[in-house]
Every structure is written in structure tokens, then in C-alpha cells.
Amino acid sequence: MSETKERIRRVAEKLFFEEGIGNVRLQQIADETGISVGNLAYHFKNKDALVQVVYDKLFEDFSKILSNYLQLPDLRDFDQLFELLYHFYTKHSFYINNIWEIERSYPDIKKSWSGFNQKIILQIEKRIEYNFQRGVLLSEPYQGTYHHLAESIWININCWIPQQFLQGKKTTLNLYLRAIWNLLIPYLTPKGRMEYETKVPSALQS
């Protein structure tokens, strides 16, 4: 992507975060990038094209995270995933702000994103299964527990940062990791607790 286009994309991301997609005017984006509206129109036909390119970058970054499945053969893999997602959501903070707007007005983006969501939730569920097979997680108390747990973990990953902001609390990587791990910790076996306490970086830090 050309340098100007990239600059425009970054400004668009920032404004989408600060004001919400619905409220941002092309004039604003042009002004803040330091170009004319005409120049902006040359690069991006309309606002929808801008929204698309912003979300394309989101999808691209997310695909990289998806490709990291089970890089580490134990509980540390969760830590790595959570950390990657923390940085992802910090970088693309506009995402959670605009989640309802996308739902309302951009069905194609919504559809693509929902495909990604399905994959990551499956990944979390399979990681849980894998660790259960290794004997570090308890077996499912009820059928469907782990599917539900994977979904809850995913919701928390998405919503923790904005919730902290709303509650006037700090958002740091360590607090984040603790919060997400707290969902998994009740399901650790004694062997799992050992592994968590001795191997997992976030546990060692706090």
C-alpha cells in the first residue's frame, strides 16, 4: 500500500476509535492526514471503502494470530495467545467501539469477522481439549462446558479492556492475563496447577 494510503488508513483508524465510524466525516480524515478531500477521494472512493481497508488490516493481523495454534505444547500456549490478543486489541481499539455500527450497517464485514470469531473460539476449545488430554485440565463436568468456557474466554478477551476503562481501572497486560486465566484456573488439575505455577510466565510474574 502506498505511503499516503497507509497514513490515511491510520488516521481513519484513530478517528473511528475516538468518534465512532458513524460520526466521522471524510473532511475530518482529510484534514488530519493533511491532504485535500479530493486527494482522499482519489485514494478511497467513499467512506465505505475506508472502512473496508481499515477492517482488512484488522483481518490480516488476526490471521497471523490464528496461525499460531499450539506453538507451545503446554499451558504456556494459552499465555502466548492471550498476550497476542491483548496487543491486537490495544492496537485496534476501534474495534470494540464500533461493534454495534458494524452490526447495523456493514453486513459484509460482519460476516467476515464472524468467520474469524468462529475459528478462534474453536481454537480455544481445542486447546482446552488438548490440555485435558495432557491431564492438566479436569474433564468436562457437564457436556458442553468447554464450548461454553471457550466462548466466555473469548467474550472476556474482547470486553475486558473496555470494561476496565468504564470502571475507571488500569489496563495492563498482567492484569489482563490474570483476568482471563481466572476463567481457566478453576478447571486445573493438581498437575495443571503445578504447571501453571512453575511454567506459565504470567503466573510467575505476579
Binding site: 495454534y69 499450539l70 505444547p73 468462529q118 475459528k119 474453536l122 481445542k126 481439549e129 488438548y130 488430554q133
Partner: protein, 115 residues
């Protein structure tokens, strides 16, 4: 390329399984190499037996210096005698260190107790 949910789920299952398959083995399992090393210096003779309607191909391994150290194994069976003997022939040649049979075993070096 669009991947359906079930397919993706299967891929992840497979990746999980791989973790269990390709783990390093235990040293104990490799001891057979050192234990059975003497087989390298054996003379091999084929041995065909009949039983239960089949011709069984067996090999007898005898150590060239210590003839009392030997090993007898039945490898496979065939319903036809010719098949069995061909198989035994090639199997012996493959197993034997000395494939062309040029080594000579000196019977005097073997101390048989004939009592």
C-alpha cells in the same frame, strides 16, 4: 479458500494429535539396538517347516564365533512350497552379513561336546 467449521475443527484435532505422536521416545525403547548387536555377526540359514496347511519360513541366526549363541525366528508363511522357498532364499540373503556365501566357517573352531 473457504474452510467450513467442521473441516477446521478436524484440522485442529489433527494438530492436537500430532503433539502426542511426535514426542521424544524413551531411551529404554532403543536398547534393542545394543542388545541385539551380536546379530550382525551371524550366519543365517533358512528353515522351512510345514504346519496347519502352510509352509512357514524361518530363519536361524548362528553367531560365527559362538555357535551356541543362536536365534530361531519364524517370519512368514505361504500356502505354496515354492513361494516359501523363494521367499526364504531372498530373506536369508538379505539378513546374512555374508551374502554371497564366501565366508567359510572352520568346523574345528567350533567346540562341540558330543557327550
Amino acid at each position: 479458500m473457504k474452510i467450513g467449521r467442521h473441516f477446521y475443527s478436524d484440522i485442529l484435532d489433527h494438530l492436537n494429535r500430532l503433539q502426542f505422536q511426535e514426542t521424544p521416545g524413551i531411551e529404554r525403547d532403543l536398547l534393542f539396538l545394543s542388545d541385539e548387536f551380536w546379530l550382525q555377526d551371524t550366519a543365517v540359514v533358512e528353515h522351512i517347516t510345514k504346519g496347519k496347511g502352510m509352509y512357514w519360513v524361518g530363519l536361524i541366526f548362528v553367531h560365527s564365533n559362538q555357535p551356541l549363541r543362536f536365534l530361531k525366528r519364524v517370519i512368514t508363511g505361504y500356502s505354496d512350497h515354492r513361494k516359501a522357498s523363494t521367499s526364504a532364499h531372498y530373506m536369508r540373503r538379505q539378513a546374512a552379513k555374508d551374502q554371497r556365501g564366501t565366508l567359510v566357517i572352520n568346523p574345528k573352531s567350533l567346540n562341540f561336546n558330543l557327550n
